[in-house]
Symmetry: C2
Subunit: 224 residues, 2 copies
Amino acid sequence: MTTTQVDQRVSLAVSTVIFALRPDPSTGRQTLWLPLVRRIREPYEGKWALPGGPLEAHEDLAASARHTLERTTGLGDSYLEQLYSFGAVDRSPDRVVSIVYWALVRPDEDARAIDGENVEWFVADDVPDLAFDHDDIVRYALDRLRAKITYSPIAHAFLADEFTLAELREVHEAVLRKSLDPANFRRQVLAGRTIEPTGTCLTGTSHRPPALYRAAARPEEIAR
Amino acid sequence: MTTTQVDQRVSLAVSTVIFALRPDPSTGRQTLWLPLVRRIREPYEGKWALPGGPLEAHEDLAASARHTLERTTGLGDSYLEQLYSFGAVDRSPDRVVSIVYWALVRPDEDARAIDGENVEWFVADDVPDLAFDHDDIVRYALDRLRAKITYSPIAHAFLADEFTLAELREVHEAVLRKSLDPANFRRQVLAGRTIEPTGTCLTGTSHRPPALYRAAARPEEIAR
C-alpha cells in the first residue's frame, strides 16, 4: 500500500458506458445507444472515446462516474453500477488503469439529455473505431448487459416506475435484438416475481387497457 | 487520461481474496477459509489484511493478482476472477484504490499450499478486525459468492475435474452454510445442464458406486 516510485507511474481513470434505448435509424425499432466524446488531445486526438477522466483525489469511484454521467447527459440519478476494471499494460501509451461504470438511462430521463459539443450518440453495436481499448470495453458492456438481463431484473432501469408487460418485453427485445413470444415472456416474468401489479391500468383509448406493474426490487438491490 | 498533479495522489493496489474449503474447527463440516497477511508496517501495523500490493507498472491486473496468489499459497493456476474495485476516499490514510480479485482453490491444489511466516488462514465468516476496509471486502466477496453459486456453475472451481453429485452438493452446502435436500439438488443441477456424466463411476468398496460428472463449461466461461 506504500506509494513507491513504480506505483506512481500507474494512473487511474474512471470511464462510464451510458446506455439508453432509442429508435434504430434504419429499422425504427428501439435499440441501445451510447454517447461518445471526441478526443481533443493526444493520444488518439480526433478519435471517439468513452466519457470519463482521471480519478481526482477527493472523489470516490461512483462519484467520479456520476459526474461524468452529468457532464455528458445532464442526468444525475440514473442507475449506475461498477462494471469492470481494465488494466492491460499496453492499453494506452501511458500506463492507465480504467475503472469502468455503466449507467442505464430511463426514457423519461433521456428526454432531458444535454449534449455537449464534443459529445455524440451512437448505436452501441455500431460504434466507430475507438481510442484506447474502448472498443473492447463497449463489447464487454454489451455482452454483460445481454447476459445479465436474462437472470436479473436490470431491464427495469430502462423503464419508468410503472410499466406494462409489453413495455418490459420491448426493453428485453431491444437489448437482446430479437423478438420474444409475448405469452412465454409474460409467463416467465411473472414466475420470476421481480415485478408486481400496481392494481391500475394504463389509461387511454383502448377497450382493454393493459395492467401496470412496478419493480418488486429496486435496480440498486439487484444481485450482481 | 493525462497524468496530472491531482491524479498522482491516487495510488493503485491489487488485492486477492483466496477462498478454499476446509473443515470448520468446531463442527468438522467443510466451510470457507481464506489466508490473511499480518501487516509489518504502518498504516495498520500488526493488523491482518488481504494479501496484495501496489500494482507495478509492467504488470496487468490479473497478473498482479496471480502473483499474490502464488506468493500466498504456492498455487498458480486456480480459478481467478476480478471481483470489484474499492475506492472510498477515506478507506486508507493515503488515497489508495484497490482492485480486488478472488481466487477459488480446489482441494487437490490446496494440499500443496505453502504458508509464509506472516500468512495465516482464517474461517472466512469469522475473521479478526482487519486493516483498511478489508472487512467490507471480505463480506462483499462472501455475499457475491453466495449469490453467484445459485445462478452459475462457479462451485466447480472448488472441485477436481471429475466429481460426484454428493461432492458438488457439499460445496454448495459449505458455501451457503445450510443443508440441501439431495433429491431436490440433484434435480435442479441436472436441469441446469452445467454438468455432464463422464460415463464412469467412483471406484471404491460401495455396492452402488456413485456416477462421476464433469463441468459442461469451464469456470472461466461462466457469465458474470
